[in-house]
Amino acid sequence: MEKTKAPSKIGLFIFDPGGGLARAVDLGTVVQKLIKMKNVSRCEVIADIWSGFLVSVKEDLKAGNLNRLLWVGRFSPYQEKIIKAELSAEGLNPYLHEWCDVEEQGVGKEGPDRAVQTQKVMMLVQMAVGRARLIEALEPVSLPAVDAVLIIGAGVAGLHAASSLVKLGKRVYLVEKESGVGGKVASLHRLYPRICDPRCGLEFEIEKLRGSNKLELHTLSRVKGLDGGPRNFEVKIEKAPRYVSEERCNGCGKCAEVCPVTIPDDSTSHLPQNPHQSGKKAIHSPTPMAFPSAFVVERRYCPPQCRECVKACPTNSVDLEQTPSDMTLRAGAIIATTGWDPYPLSKVEEYGYGLYPNVISNLEAERLLENPPELKEVGFIQCAGSRDEKHLNYCSSVCCSVSLKQALSLKERLPNSRFSIFYQDIRTPGFDEELYQRVKSLDKVIFIRGLPSTVKPDGENGRLKIRAEDTLSGKEVTLSLDLLVLAGGMAPSGGTGEIAELFNLPRNNFGFFESHLQCHPEESQRAGIYVGGACRGPMNVGQSIESTHRAMVEALQFIDGTFLVEPTHPLVDKTKCDKCKRCMEDCPFSAYYFDSEGFPTPDLARCRQCGNCMGTCPLTAISLRHFTIKQTAAQIQAIKVSSLPKEEPVILAFLCKNDAYHAAREAADSDAVIPANVFFIKVPCAGSVNNALLADALSFGIDGILIAGCKDGQCHSVRGNQLVKTRSGDLADKLKKMMIEPERVRFEHLEIRDSGRYVELVNSYMRDLKAMGPNPFKV
C-alpha cells in the first residue's frame, strides 16, 4: 500500500459562494497564514467551482504542483461528486480530496466575535491540513461474488428454480418453513388444465434435487436477518428442531407404528366426513412432501414422558432433546418464492364458513375429489372474498378454472348429482376456455349468474338452504344443498409479509411483492433479490414456474464475477500486532479470522468498516484506511491549545457519523451558538475511537473529551457504543489515579434528533470544565 512518498502538495480552497463566510471571518488573514503552512502549495478563496477554476486546478495537477486537495466550506453532495469526477479524469484519486466543512462546526454566523471565529477557522483548517498531508490514493477492493443462490420457499415455484439452477451446476440453498417441500400444490388433487396428479410433476423435480450435491435444503427454517449486499448476502436462519436426525433416519416408519398419539391433519379437519383425524401420528413423515425423508416430531403433541419412538427406532435417529439452531448462509443472490395463503373465508360472513360443517373452501374440496361421499346437490360460489372491496379487491384469477376442474372431477365420480355454480363472470383466460366449454356441456351442471345473499341451514336435516337472484333471468333461485364449496381467493402469504419486513422490500396495495409488472416482473426493487411465483400475485402453477425462471435467470448475474468493497477497510500492521485477539473479540460483525501466521485478518466481505477493531487495539496496530490512527492523531496534534486563552476550556468531541454528527450539524445550522472552543471529529462509529488518541489529546492540553454515540440497541455497529464507553471509562479511572478529574473524558448518547441536547451538552460541559480549571498538562 505504501506509495512512493512524494511530498504532499496541497491545494487549499475556501468556498464562499455568497460571501457569508467573509462577513463572519477575516478570510484575508486566514489565507495569508495558511499559505505559509508546510505542504500547502496553493491557497485561495473561491466563489464558485466553474469559470475556469477547475481548469486551473487540472493544470496544477498535471504539472505536479498539487497532489491533494483540501476543500474548506460547505459543498453539496452533488458538488462533491462533480469535483471528484472532473478531477479523477485528470488522474486525481477520489481519496485524495479532504473536505472540511467549517460551518457544521458552528462557524460563519454573524454575531459571535470575528476574531474568535477567525481563530476557530484557522484551527479547523490546520487540523484538516494535518490529516490531508497523510491521505493516500486508494482503490476499491474487488472480491469474488458468492457463487450460491438462496431460495426462500420450497413450493412449486421454489423447487423448479432450485432444480434448474442445480442443473446449471450452481449452488443453491433452499429454505422452507415446513418439514417438507411442495407448498400448496402438493395438497391439490388434480391440476388443471391437464387434470393430472400434481405430485407427479413435483416428484420429478424433487428427484433431480435429491441426487444433487449442489443443493443444501433447510426445512423447518425461517429467515431471521439479512446483511451484506448483492453478490454477498448473509442470511441468518433459525432452524426449529426436527427431533430426528436427517442423516440417519431412513424413513422406515417403525416410530410412527408405536407412537401413541394421533394428531389432527390441518388440511382435512374441515371436511364433512372427516373424523378430524387422518391417522397422522405425532412422529410422521415430512409434510407436504417427504423431502427430506427423515421423519419429524410435532413435539407439542407428545405426552411429557413418552419415549416410544426413541426406543423403536432401529437407526437411533430420534433425539427428543434437540434445540433450535441458528446459522448464517452466504449467497450472491436471493429469490423469494414465499407463495400465497388462502383468504380466511370466515371473514365472508354471509356464506357461513366455519358455522356449518358442509360449507368448505376450494382448497379443502381438493381432498374430497378422490373419494367423495354421496352428494346429490353441490353448490359452488365463485369469487368468495375476491373482487370485493371489503375483502380482496382483485381477481384471484385461478378460482374459476379451479371450480370447473373440481366440478369435472366430482361429476366423474357422482354422475347423477347436480352442480350449481354461482358466479359474477366466468374468467377462463386462454385455453382454460376449453375447460369451461367441457363443463358447460355436462348434464346437470347449472351456471347461475348472481351471488347468493344468504346461506342458512335447511331445517334440521343438516342441509343448506341457499338463495340468490339469477341476474340473467331475473328469477329468484332457492336451492337445498348437501355441500357448498366456496371458491376462496389467493391472499399474500404471511411468509411474504415476514420477508418483506425483514428485507425491507416494498409490497403493492394488495400485500404481494411490488414489482414492475410489465417490464421487470421478477424484480423486488432491491438489487440481487428477485421474486417468483404466487408471492407476486395470484397465478396458476404454469405461471408460477415461468415467473420463477425469469427470477432465476436474473439472479445468475449476481453469482458470477466480482463485487467491490470500499477501500476504507481495516488494515492490521503485523509489525505492531502481538496477537492479543481483542480485535477479534470486539468486532461486532465477527469479521476477523487468523491468517496462516496467526495474525488477525478481517474478512473484507463481512467487515462493515465500523472501526471498532481500530478502537480496541491496545497497540494501535489497526487502522481503517482513509481514517487511520495517524491521520486522526495528526488532526488532534494540530489543535494548538497554547494559542488559545488558557482560561477558556477546549473540548474535543468524537461524534459518531450515523447520529451524533447529524445532531451537531443541525445544531450548527440552527440559531444556536456553539462555543468557539469546541472542535469535533466525525468518526465511523463511537467505538472506533482508540484510547491512545484520547491520551494524546489530554497530553496536548485539551481540557475535555466528549465521545458521542448512539443509544444502546440503536448502535449501527451493534455494541460499538458500549465498547467505547467501557474503554473510555477505564481511561477516566486512570485519570483519577493521576489526580486528574475523570470527567475530562465523557461518553454521551446522542440521537439524530438531539441537536438541542447537543448544544446544551457542550455548554454545560464548558461550564463544568471551567469550574475544574485547566488540564494540568496544558502548558
Binding site: 509489525t575 502481538d578 492479543c580 485477539k581 481483542r582 473479540e585 491496545p618 494501535t620 490512527i629 495517524k630 492523531a633 482508540n690 484510547n691 491512545a692 488518541l693 491520551a695 494524546d696 489530554l698 497530553s699 496536548f700 477505564d730 481511561l731 479511572d733 486512570k734 489515579k737 493521576m738 489526580m739 486528574i740 494540568p776 498538562f777
Partner: protein, 108 residues
C-alpha cells in the same frame, strides 16, 4: 516493587494464552492465575521497568515505587498516546509532577 494488579479491572486479556503484560515483561514475571487474573510470580525479581504498566489496555496495573525513590503512597503513572507518553509522579506528600514526551523513533 512489583506491579499491583487491580483484580476488578484485569480481564486476563480475554483469556489469551499470553496476556499483554506477560508478553512484554523482560523478566517473564507476569502470569495469568487460575482465575485468569494477572500476577507477578517473583516480586523480588521485578526491575520496575514499567513495561507491563504501559502495556495493560485496561489500566489494571499500577507500580509500587521502590523505596529508593519514594515511600508508600508515592506513585508513578504512565499514559500512552499514539506517539506520546505522559508520566504523572505523585510523591509521598501528595506533590504531583507531570511530564509529557513525544516518542521518537516511531515508524514515521
Amino acid at each position: 516493587m512489583p506491579p499491583k494488579v487491580d483484580r476488578e479491572k484485569c480481564d486476563g486479556c480475554k483469556a489469551e494464552k499470553e496476556s499483554l503484560c506477560e508478553q512484554v515483561c523482560p523478566g517473564d514475571l507476569m502470569h495469568l492465575g487460575e482465575d485468569q487474573k494477572a500476577f507477578c510470580r517473583m516480586p523480588r525479581d521485578c526491575w520496575d521497568c514499567m513495561s507491563c504498566i504501559k502495556a495493560c489496555p485496561k489500566g489494571a496495573l499500577e507500580t509500587r515505587i521502590p523505596y529508593q525513590l519514594g515511600y508508600h503512597v508515592a506513585r508513578l503513572i504512565p499514559m500512552m498516546g499514539t506517539n506520546t507518553i505522559t508520566w504523572t509522579c505523585i510523591d509521598l506528600n501528595g506533590k504531583v509532577e507531570r511530564y509529557q514526551y513525544r516518542n521518537r523513533g516511531s515508524d514515521d
